[in-house]
Amino acid sequence: MSHWDILELLKTALRRQATEYVRAEVQALEEAFALLLVGTFIGLPAPTTGLVLRLLPHLGSELELLERRVAESDDLFAQVAGILKI
């Protein structure tokens, strides 16, 4: 492995360390956002229907995200545990 590669890897690892928690947090925020908007279709109290309708064309990724979440919903704890440091 060349000298440069190791340096690159080190830099990558370092940068990963600096963003790991923020990544986990933004994931949670995005899910909250998706739920707020799209949750109306599973009966959650929601923003005024009109607002949801107007945003709906732009929410493709939010729906996919929720779909993924639903698929993984039976296995959440271990993912959450990933932020632990014991």
């Binding site: 790991e20 928690y21 923020v22 296995d75 632990l84």
Partner: protein, 584 residues
Amino acid sequence: MNTSVLLILGIVIYAVCYLWYGRSLARKVVKADDSKPTPAHTKYDDVDFVPTHPAVLFGHHFASIAGGAPILGPALAMAWGWWAGLLWIWFGNILIGAVHDYLSIMASVRYEGKSIQWIAGKMMRRRTSYLFQVFAYLTLALALAAFATSLAYLFIAHPDVASMSMWFIVVAIITGFLLFKWRINFMLGSVIGIILTIGAIWLGSLAPLNISYKGWMVIFFVYMMAASALPVWMLLQPRDYLNSFILVLGLVAGAVALIFAGAKMELAGFTSWSPNIVGGVPSPYWPVVPLIIACGSLSGIHGLIGSGTTSKQLDKETQGLIVGYGGMLTEGLLSSVVTITIAAFGLLVFKEAAGKLTEVGIVADSLKEPLYLGKNYVKAIGAVGGPLGIFTQSYGKLIQQAFGISAQVGTIFSSLWVSAFTLTSMDTGNRVLRFAWEEVWEPLKDSLGDFHGVITNRWLASAIPSALSILLAWNKAYNVLWPAFGGANQMLAAVTLLTVALWVLRWTAASKGHVRFIMACAGALWLTVFVGLWWFLFAVPSTPLVQGFVVLEIVLALIFAYDFFRSLRSTSPKEAGFSEAVKP
């Protein structure tokens, strides 16, 4: 026997066993096959499932599993003597701990990235998955309590460390602002953060914080609640980032120092079979040592972490070995460094604190004598800052002997190391604890009715878990809380190991020999922890709350064993309630 030889011996043993046993696991049990795409590829979503370079993944996994525990446990276990500790750290790790970590990651990889908790639920009974939840909750709650207690001991014995840790929090927050809000260039921001950290160390020595034990308990409680309410960019992320520098430096400097110093082992290699450790009562090496040395040798939480995030980022199957098995061995290396350091320099620390020791009725010089050490070690460290305190001061002496730098430097640095990690554990632990708390009560929703609503009320649910931990820590007994944590953690490990053993048995075409050996280790582990829990219940004086937890663990362990055997005997996967769709 000196430190260089011993550490090198440890490294060699690890390396050899990695190459021999580790590789045979990969080849003959897991049958790691690079042509089989991992879930990082098959379920790629650029969020959770992302193939990652093995070196980066190793770093990430190692950083996740290396907190304050690989330091605390071995520091406490010194009461048995350093040979006793090292034997478990080396062979317990190689044969059980690293196997546990490696196989839980690989099982998860074969199950499309599902966690070991989920797999257990499918392979055995649904309630098995719930069992994991309860054990995980207990592990966390007790870990936080034990950390809080130990940290308080350290802070009380060294008020300058306390002050420095608080300043470090400020430094972390400033770094967070630098990188996130003020958008300073990343490299520049990192350098500033490191410089500020050194500043915090200096500030700490200027104005030491003298606070009582109960005072620290309240502070930690408030800290846990406040820290976990902040956005992560402000404190948790920057501190964790700075911590990783400290960890690497601490480990590398420690290892190098041990090899250079070649110091003699001053404390005893073996003290007695049952020195006074847990609750001050004689604690037999078997079954108690796994309860004391958890991380560093074997730890159930690692299985959740590994199968929860690491497995989803594995690029190729063969890379699992270095990440999982190698990662655990590296943590074992860390614990080895801790043990050897204390063994070589602990006596010096005790001698320098002779005055404080006589106050608690201990003659510092006599600690050289094995039996005396066994009887009084735990009491002795209580006078020098607890298990964290003995380590940090020994570390300081080590650095001094190896590099000629004043012992202050090494002590201060390692103090920052342990306190930073402990505080991070408390922050992240509290966050996860809140979730775990609700998960534990969830299936009981119907039977509990209104009570459930109260318990999981938003405010209570965030306060109760940490309040419970602080309550546990109130009576100051880290030598009771830590093994209780160990019990929960290791029973979790036993459950995980038995689950992967079942997986190996049923789903991999592994050689019979391997399967039997893994099964045997798993069974032995379960039995050991089970006996340990009973021993704890009857031999150790502790509070009703802790005893209640232990009783719960015993009951759940039995339920698990029953479910496991039923699963074992049923030959067809369908019989065991296993769905065809999830065949790995």
